[in-house]
């Protein structure tokens, strides 16, 4: 019987053939934590009598969620992380370096075939690079830092066959929002999502990272893709490590297979307060907005900034809108400066904040006021997510966000693309 990508990668990391629902203890290629989860992991590491991390070259900590620190309490936790990183000598990315899920691939820490855990739910992002990566909690992170291993239940797989080509003005973000709306917030719980088909192959690596990033929003443990020439070129450009591409067997067993034709897909928006509350743009167009955000681990990459700049070139955002831009990393910010993309966004009215998570998780950089509507390129719109439980969050693509910032209301980007 054939194997899925998930079964093959997990099997390769515990040196045995495994099948869905087996429970295994597997070796990890890389372990990551961010500033919301690492302090608790450091505490657990001490409590568990950890002395040294298993391999400092395979451990990273990143300060991105509250960066730079907005509060004394946060500063103390950041100091705890810095001290621990110095003591242990692993890779440490401080404020302004970027958001963890951009940095892990960008710094070459992830290659095809890897098994990676991160103490952040959107760790599933690296599935776009043909790696099995998944989110864990802080105690798991501590156990992984000590032993270089973790226990896993081998997930069943859910194959999404995506046929056709996305029309102009419709992007990877619209596609993944559409899929989440179709299968709902728990439609893939505990499964590995596997995205295949013509529409996936047509996406850039950036767009693929957006799709894998949001696999967790349908409950999935991973959001996997096969490696093609684009993946390998991207990985080789960023990492010294040898990629080990893994494909699913033709007779692999899937718990569920769904096929979609995407050629007529309109832009999609996830309405408050759940990510699966998805509607086509026509249903929400005209909703007034007070804040627009481009950034986050979902959509803060160069391609996203370029798409926004193309719409905003020589235009000014609506004066009723606050427009916040958080590039996903320092490197992306520098490239956006060199290309003039950042200048275009700033001239249009953007407030650019430190590379990192931006206002996505409600810690800083733009907490909305009571009753306000926000349209970010983020991945979650839960009540209170951006720091105010009386605000309303509409998730959309960078193009839709840019168009909405211009219009002062949710707008169809296809009317603004030149």
């Amino acid at each position: 019987m054939g194997k899925t990508i998930a079964e093959k990668i997990l099997g390769a990391h515990c040196q045995q053939a495994v099948s869905a629902n087996d429970i295994v203890v597997a070796d990890l290629d890389y372990v990551m934590g961010q500033d919301g989860t690492s302090p608790l992991a450091i505490q657990a590491f001490r409590e568990m009598k950890g002395q040294k991390v298993f391999d400092p070259r395979r451990v990273a900590m990143i300060i991105d969620h509250s960066a730079p620190s907005p509060l004394e309490g946060v500063s103390a936790l950041h100091a705890l992380m810095r001290d621990f990183a110095r003591e242990q000598g692993f890779n440490f990315y401080d404020i302004g370096e970027g958001v963890c899920h951009q940095l892990m691939p960008e710094k070459g820490n992830v290659v095809c075939g890897d098994l990676v855990v991160g103490a952040d739910s959107h760790t599933c992002s690296y599935g776009a690079l043909n790696a099995f990566s998944t989110g864990v909690g802080s105690t798991d992170l501590a156990a992984a830092m000590i032993s270089g291993k973790l226990w896993f239940k081998v997930p069943e797989s859910f194959k999404f066959v995506l046929n056709g080509q996305l029309p102009a003005g419709v992007y990877a973000k619209d596609l993944i929002l559409y899929l989440i709306g179709q299968v709902t917030a728990d439609g893939a719980t505990y499964m590995a999502a596997e995205y295949v088909g013509e529409a996936v192959r047509a996406l850039s690596v950036e767009g693929r990272l957006t799709m894998s990033n949001m696999a967790i929003e349908m409950g999935a443990k991973a959001g996997l893709m096969e490696a093609d020439e684009k993946t390998l070129a991207w990985v080789q450009q960023h990492s010294q490590r040898e990629p080990r591409p893994v494909t699913s067997d033709p007779d692999a067993v899937y718990a569920r297979v769904e096929e979609y034709e995407v050629s007529n897909l309109p832009p999609q928006v996830a309405k408050p307060h759940t990510v699966d509350n998805v509607a086509p743009i026509t249903e929400v167009a005209g909703t007034p907005i007070q804040q627009a955000v481009i950034g986050t681990c979902t959509n803060g990459r160069l391609e996203d900034l370029r798409i926004a700049a193309q719409i905003l070139q020589d235009r000014k955002i609506n004066p009723q809108v606050r427009f916040i831009v958080a590039p996903a990393s320092r490197r992306i910010m520098l490239e956006a400066i060199k290309e003039g993309v950042l200048q275009t966004l700033i001239e249009a009215g953007a407030a650019v904040v430190t590379p990192g998570c931006g206002p996505c998780v409600g810690t800083h950089n733009g907490v909305p006021s009571d009753g306000e509507n926000v349209i970010p390129t983020a991945n979650r719109n839960f009540k209170g997510r951006m720091g105010n439980n009386k605000a309303f969050i509409y998730l959309a693509s960078p193009a839709t966000v840019a168009a909405s910032a211009l219009a002062g209301e949710i707008a169809d980007p296809r009317e603004f693309i030149r």
Binding site: S121, G137, D140, R385
Partner: protein
């Protein structure tokens, strides 16, 4: 492992931002302090109402959203003994077991707010003392029972120094 207490009932898709909001979790490692804000966005009075040993009972996909382990810790520190739901999101499930917070999957439609329950993990049953009903529960996998029996993953590592499910 046997627990007695009263039911606090919630709906489907209770996410980790509702369990403990991001606006608190980044500020402190003091779980007693965080526990005061548990479920606050769904029920501002929850922390004052919950008695030690009580149960959170919910629908499907409890704990969806982020990987924040502060969520099960805050639930545990608020005094909740077991979370009972139709289903759980995988990260919350994993984190809860690692923290030593038992979870039970069963059909929760017949459990009402305020009901008094006896949850018997060893026997695999819930006795609804208010309604005189017995509800079967889905047993936990062996690895999780082992971690719970050790008191959580930290205690498991203290005991063995690494994973030991042999």
């Amino acid at each position: 492992m046997k627990f007695n207490g009263r039911v606090h009932k919630f709906g489907n898709d209770v996410n980790t931002d509702y369990i403990i909001s991001g606006r608190y979790k980044f500020k402190t490692l003091d779980m007693k302090e965080l526990a005061k804000h548990v479920m606050e966005d769904l029920d501002p009075d929850f922390y004052n109402k919950v008695q030690s040993g009580d149960f959170i009972v919910a629908g499907t996909n409890f704990g969806c959203g982020s990987s924040r382990e502060q969520a099960p810790w805050a639930v545990l520190y608020a005094g909740v003994s077991v979370v009972i739901a139709k289903s759980f999101a995988r990260l919350f499930y994993r984190n809860a077991i690692n923290c030593g917070l038992p979870l039970v999957e069963c059909d929760t439609d017949r459990i009402e707010p305020g009901d008094e329950l006896e949850v018997d993990l060893a026997q695999g049953v819930i006795n609804n003392l208010t309604r005189g009903e017995v509800l079967p529960i889905k047993p936990l996998p062996g690895v999780m029972i082992k971690i719970l029996q050790d008191g959580g993953l930290a205690e498991h590592f203290q005991k063995y120094g690494t994973f030991n499910f042999g």
